[in-house]
């Protein structure tokens, strides 16, 4: 063969693999509003940056007549590329090839690119679209999953790991996304569950659709398994690309800095918060009045909305925000919001992202359901995560900082670097109403007009304790600031803590209450 013929032969072979499961299977895929595996990768990475590996890998199944079957690339595409110039490793399961089922070689391709990502210290993106284990390969496919989960765990906190669910992801397969940092789902396309509707119906008699059991909205809203929810694959890819701009390549780096920008003029920080502490407002307005260009990249927007988490930039650098949301459930802490915030705090800490905490919360959500759901151990996660974090930690108390919530929301006592309070802040063991009822119980009960006495005592307590000055007098608050100074002071605090270096006691690992 001449060189030219060799090249033509190579091209033919590659084209053959690129056809995936063939026209019919691709047609089916497209009819569901789905792109193919390679189209998805190309839509995420920079144009012309993708290189695919292991195209000619063949499956090794021999039982059940699998020996005669040719599976293009064994149903998964792996490779490297860049997103806005940042290097990434990526894999995408190809549903058109044998339902994207995971056999031994399929798994080996995935673990190969995972090893590569960890070795090169670059982010890993996994696109899941698979019917599950390839039953014909038996225990070999289970081995494959195990190897993937192990690498997910090993890479955790070293490189960012992103999972994109663009099809079914069922049974054991769900545990790879669950072990990664961020999970993206798309309405009507993503399906995640341990046990599918058919089995649930036959065993338990419960009739439920796939979408209602483990659709995108369920995981974004109810289970908290998903971090980003999109209405189409295109929107999802934009979210992934945006996320990549906020996070570093690995745990020894800082996220890329952007040119600083002032917040937009329409966000007037002093006009957002109502004077009455019992009235709600949207805490995200405050965040946007502080961040560069008023941009806030919210994470887990639909889950436990009583706490808000996400990234913004301050003077061009990425900062993680944790903020109570008075608009939903009065901004209380509960099981879900504690889980949500704690995981995010740990993410920021692992990847050198400073944390700004905005506090306005009346306490923990009362209720038997919360107590029985374990609000003690869930709530403890926030305390643990803040205490453990060694990145710069800055708190701004906007209004209410009552009781255990005051301690939990990155207080001085958990080693916050800076604690600021607005003059509207109320830092107290509990709200005036509750405190007056306890402290002045006797006076109220014995008064000629108990209700009038109650109101009088509430006012007394309010005047004395519902302010930031008692805490400031003890040094628990570093400075009481005017709302319009917030950004300036935060920028200063971030600048001062840029080279923060503290050592925690050496240990194998801590034991957070999970």
């Amino acid at each position: 063969m001449s060189l030219k013929r060799n090249i033509l032969d190579l091209r033919k072979r590659k084209d053959e693999v690129r056809k995936g499961g063939g026209d019919k299977a691709i047609e089916k895929q497209v009819a569901q509003g789905k792109l193919t595996a390679r189209q998805r990768i190309l839509a995420i990475v920079d144009e012309g940056s993708f290189h695919e590996y292991d195209m000619f890998v063949e499956h090794v199944g021999t039982d059940f007549n699998m020996g005669n079957k040719v599976l293009a690339g064994d149903g998964v595409v792996i490779g490297t590329g860049t997103i806005y110039g940042s290097p990434i490793c990526i894999y995408a399961q190809d549903f058109t090839v044998e339902g994207g089922s995971l056999g031994l070689m399929h798994a080996r391709k995935i673990t190969k690119i995972m090893d590569h990502a960890l070795k090169m210290r670059v982010p890993l993106i996994g696109i899941n679209d698979s019917g599950g284990a390839r039953i014909q390969e038996g225990v070999n496919s289970l081995a494959g999953y195990g190897e993937i989960f192990f690498r997910n765990t090993l890479s955790s906190g070293v490189i960012p790991q992103i999972s994109v669910i663009l099809g079914p992801c069922a049974g054991g397969a769900v545990y790879s996304p669950a072990l990664t940092d961020f999970v993206f789902v798309v309405e009507n396309i993503s399906k995640m569950f341990i046990t599918g509707p058919a089995v649930i119906k036959s065993v338990l008699g419960e009739d439920i659709s796939m979408e209602a059991l483990g659709g995108a909205r369920v995981h974004a809203e109810t289970t908290g398994n998903a971090h980003f929810f999109a209405l189409s694959e295109e929107e999802c890819f934009e979210q992934i690309k945006a996320l990549i701009t906020y996070i570093p390549w690995n745990n020894t780096q800082k996220a890329k800095a952007f040119p600083p920008k002032e917040p937009k003029a329409k966000y007037k920080i002093a006009n957002i918060v109502p004077a009455d502490v019992r009235m709600p407002y949207d805490i995200r307005e405050i965040i946007k009045s502080i961040t560069d260009d008023s941009e806030f990249f919210e994470i887990m927007e639909l889950f436990a909305a009583n706490i808000v988490i996400g990234f913004g930039r301050m003077n061009g650098e990425t900062v993680g925000f944790v903020a109570n949301q008075p608009l939903v459930l009065a901004g209380v802490l509960d099981c879900d919001s504690s889980d949500k915030a704690a995981r995010f705090i740990r993410y920021c800490n692992a990847f050198n992202i400073p944390i700004i905490t905005l506090e306005d919360m009346p306490g923990y959500l009362p209720g038997v359901d919360q107590e029985h759901a374990g609000v003690i151990r869930h709530g403890a996660k926030i305390l643990y995560a803040y205490s453990e974090a060694t990145v710069p930690k800055i708190t701004v108390i906007i209004r209410k900082a009552y009781g255990g919530g005051y301690i939990a929301m990155n207080s001085r006592h958990l080693r916050a670097d800076f604690v600021f309070a607005w003059p509207t802040a109320e830092i107290a063991v509990m709200g005036p109403e509750g405190a007056a009822n306890i402290v002045f119980r006797k006076e109220i009960a014995e008064a000629a007009d108990p209700e009038a006495m109650r109101q009088q005592k509430i006012q007394e307590y309010k005047d004395k304790f519902a302010n930031p000055y008692v805490a400031a007098s003890k040094g628990y608050i570093d400075e009481v600031i005017e709302p319009q100074e917030t950004r300036k002071i935060l920028l200063h605090a971030l600048q001062i803590s840029a080279h923060k270096d503290i050592q925690s006691p050496a240990k194998k690992h801590g034991l957070p209450p999970f």
Binding site: V203, L204, G205, E206, E221, T222, V277, R278, M279, P280, A304, A305, N306, P326, L327, V328, L329, A330, G331, V332, D336, P362, G363, Y364, L365, P366, G367, V368, D369, H372, Y402, G403, M430, G431, P432, E433, G434, A435, N437
Partner: protein
């Protein structure tokens, strides 16, 4: 309580906060005092066998029902010494989770 739901108010330490509820909060289970005299199914399944009759007195730990669930025969036992007051199930019946299968009363 109903007033609270309508106005979307959360009460913490006697203070009422105006806010909005999320779906999960609205769907939360309201706690009920458990009634130990009701033998409820802890898993959905099929009644394979009923080993007792109404009026019968049994000791705690005695088998009363065989409930098939998750491809397993589950032995449902008397929680304490007591009398079978009423049987609400039949052999072969498929039951959901939390179904009140048998009513009992304690015997000293």
């Amino acid at each position: 309580m109903e007033d609270q739901e309508k106005n979307q108010v959360i009460i913490v330490h006697s203070a009422k906060y105006q806010t909005t509820y999320n779906k999960k909060y609205l769907n939360r289970k309201v706690w009920e005092e458990p009634n130990f005299n009701l033998i409820k199914s802890y898993i959905p399944g099929t009644i394979i066998d009923i080993l007792v009759k109404e009026g019968q007195v049994l000791n705690g730990g005695d088998s009363i029902i065989v409930l098939e669930a998750m491809k397993m025969y589950n032995d449902v036992q008397m929680p304490f010494k007591g009398k079978i007051v009423k049987i609400n199930i039949e052999k072969g019946q498929k039951i959901p989770k939390g179904f009140e299968m048998i009513e009992i009363e304690p015997v000293k």
